[in-house]
Amino acid sequence: MNEKPEKLIDKKGIRLDGRKPDELRPIKMEVGVISNANGSAYIEWGKNKIVAAVYGPREVHPKHLALQDSTVLKCRYHMASFSVQERKSPAPSRREIELSKVIRESLEPAIFMEYYPRTMIDVFIEVLQADGGTRCASITAASLALADSGIPMRDLVVACAAGKIENTVVLDLFDTEDKVGSADVPVAMMPNLNAVTLLQMDGILTHEEFEKAVNMAIDGCKTVYAMQKEALKTKYVTVKSEEESKEEEAEE
């Protein structure tokens, strides 16, 4: 598994895991998975398995962080020690601290922060298994969890990456492609507002390749956005049918 593959993409444009350049990995989402939390979601994105949960709006802790005209959004992105090949120390790494910050900043524009002054909203993200593109999957799950908690939002935030492997711009890189490939461009956005809320890149891209990658990632975001909405609806359709069957029983 640690062997570097010779080729990431073959002559026909098929990638190591059998995908075409503009193809996403299989994605599954479920809303309302942590009963104690105010909102939660689970996402499986390829081999990524991630849980996100939201608490709040609730009392600010520590108190001096409270804002008079806005809520305070806190975000913790954390990887489980067993989520990667070599055991990861459970203490937050510099990477996790940076990711917590950029994920928070990608979610903030979606929330009506001024609705809940002097409160705090906590977003907790736990990566159970990582396979490249965890920040994108985390943002997608976290915004579902926020929506599930009932916090008013301008739009769902959805994220997807594009990148470059061996001179081809491709969508949604998995772990090996991310490590061996030449660039990775994660993008988060609110599709209805045409607003990019996270953009990072590492690697080397020309300006043309960069624009191509961003546009490809945006298209990917839109596909995932449709799945996100479906996942939200599914939870409430299930709740509704359960309620209805209870009512029927009561009538009998």
Partner: protein
């Protein structure tokens, strides 16, 4: 945000709408930039950058250490950033917070992804012993746009870095007299744009940073390629603004490169 800045917010936005700025600059104009190299004799390399009133000093140190297991044939680069408590009334002593970690990681990515340092030449014994290059950023005065100032100072300090000559005798390193340059391949330049109102400006100073929606930074290498990007701040960009910012960054990097003779 301070009350004074809140009062000024509207004025800053209105001025930028008309392509003016509170400090008299045009939207795509940097503040006055001063660069000094080699000012810390004890460090292997050093540089001090003044960007308006923002002041950053970077020192480099070279030690021997182990390579990362996945890159046995490459030296190691480590970047840290210290927001010195006297640099701003809002800074406090303590372990690095998310802002200083983000700053260090942006500077790190610019250097690493552009392949600026020829890390393959820093190997003493493959898989066992390599040179570790420490790049430590010290922010001495914060008046906005730490990213561009720190990235510039870091690249300048690396260009100024000297290593002792050495030879290997029976697996031991023997230091010889004389120095040679740290092997470098590229000189990345980082350009940050802030979105204020619905306009983009480069090199935001403190008050502009406090009222901006978001910022975006691009590291551009010697061949005009983009090698690292970071969006920050609690606002958003439209995709067209992202592409516009990329073009601005490319032009400004070219201009700075010419000025710096890199």
């Amino acid at each position: 945000m301070s009350i004074i800045t809140k009062v000024k917010q509207k004025q800053i936005e209105q001025l930028i709408e008309k392509n003016n700025r509170l400090d008299g600059r045009g939207p795509l104009e940097y503040r006055e930039m001063k660069l000094e190299q080699g000012l810390i004799e004890r460090a292997e390399g050093s540089a001090r950058v003044l960007l308006g009133k923002t002041e950053v000093i970077v020192g480099t140190k070279i030690e021997t250490g182990e390579p990362f297991p996945d890159t046995p044939n490459e030296g190691v680069l480590t970047v840290s950033a210290e927001l010195v408590p006297f640099a701003s009334p809002s800074y406090e002593p303590g372990p690095p917070d998310e802002n200083s970690i983000e700053l260090a990681r942006i500077v790190d990515r610019g250097i690493r992804e552009s392949k600026m340092i020829d890390t393959e030449k820093l190997v003493i014994e493959p898989g066992k012993k390599v040179f570790v290059v420490f790049v430590d950023v010290y922010v001495l005065n914060y008046d906005g746009n730490l990213i561009d100032a720190s990235a510039l100072a870091a690249v300048a300090a690396l260009s100024n870095t000297k290593m002792s000559k050495y030879e290997i005798e029976e697996g031991e390193i023997k230091i010889k007299s004389g120095y040679e340059q740290l092997p470098l391949k590229k000189h990345p330049i980082t350009v940050t744009c802030a979105k204020i109102g619905n306009k983009l400006v480069v090199d935001p100073w403190l008050e502009e940073e406090q009222v901006m929606d978001a910022r975006i930074s691009f590291a551009i290498d010697d061949d005009d390629n983009i090698c690292a990007i970071q969006k920050g701040g609690s606002g958003y960009f439209e995709p067209s603004q992202v592409f516009e910012a990329a073009k601005i960054a490319k032009e400004k990097a070219k201009e700075l490169r010419k000025k710096l003779n890199w």
